[in-house]
């Protein structure tokens, strides 16, 4: 996978979550994502950005424009230095929440992505990576 361009968006306030949505939308449009693919990626980004803010205590998003052969896509890397997730498998279950939400954030974002990965260490932070390819 070749990274052709990188943008960064800080995630410190709920207004920043809106900025994440706008940045991802703008980059997805640039890469020629169709409307449904754009909407899926922006929705997934919104879910994870909110987690970065609410559970991770804030962090940032790195947006990589990636290419694999002749496929183009976006790789979104959300990082925080928060408390980490003790049980990632549970956190990925539909309906599991520790924050009073619907528990669809992580599991839903995973379904909306082509590739999805979480790395988390208790006490030092969480990195969520998702990729979506444009058709």
């Amino acid at each position: 996978m070749v990274v052709e361009k990188t943008n960064r968006v800080p995630i410190q306030t709920s207004e920043d979550v809106v900025r994440v949505r706008q940045a991802v939308r703008s980059d997805a449009t640039t890469l020629g994502f169709n409307l449904v693919d754009q909407t899926k990626l922006v929705t997934a980004a919104s879910e994870i950005a909110r987690n970065t803010l609410d559970y991770g205590g804030g962090g940032d998003l790195r947006i990589d424009h990636v290419r694999l052969g002749n496929r183009k896509g976006l790789r979104l890397v959300f990082h925080d230095d928060g408390p980490g997730i003790p049980d990632i498998n549970r956190a990925l279950e539909d309906g599991f929440t520790t924050g009073g939400g619907l528990g669809l954030g992580l599991s839903g974002a995973k379904r909306l992505s082509s590739e999805f990965n979480i790395e988390s260490t208790v006490g030092s932070g969480t990195t969520v990576t998702l990729v979506r390819w444009s058709k």
Partner: protein
């Protein structure tokens, strides 16, 4: 702008969400609507989301909450104007909005609210006759 305006038309409240709401704004709207339902004795609430480019789980939860709260306050809520791409994404996200009534546009939404209020009235009179 930090507040979504709520318009009153007859016994209905109309909200047209025209901005990409951050989470606090969504919570404020939920609180404002509940207060206005009581203050105006509204029987119907219509929420127009035709300009929303996404509905994530937070906004989905807000729509569910508004529908549930208005039900308790004797009003019906109808969400109108959801974009097709948003609908497709919502289902894949796992959000069913099972407690929320929907219509394609504002006109159909108003007709649905009218029908729901009228049905409610007939149920009540039926019960009284028994």
């Amino acid at each position: 702008m930090d507040q979504i305006p709520i318009m009153k038309i007859g016994d209905c409240l109309l909200v047209s969400i025209q901005v990409d709401m951050h989470d606090r704004m969504a919570m404020t709207l939920q609180d404002d609507l509940t207060t206005r339902i009581v203050a105006t004795r509204a029987r119907g609430v219509m929420i127009d989301i035709s300009t929303l480019e996404i509905v994530d789980s937070f906004i989905g939860r807000m729509l569910n909450n508004i529908a549930a709260m208005s039900r308790v306050l004797d009003a019906v809520t109808v969400v109108v104007g959801m974009r097709p791409a948003v609908a497709i994404t919502l289902v894949e996200l796992g959000l069913t909005l099972s407690g929320v009534k929907t219509a394609l546009d504002v006109e159909k939404g108003l007709a649905l609210i009218r029908r729901l209020i009228d049905d409610d009235g007939e149920d009540m009179s039926g019960r009284r006759e028994d």
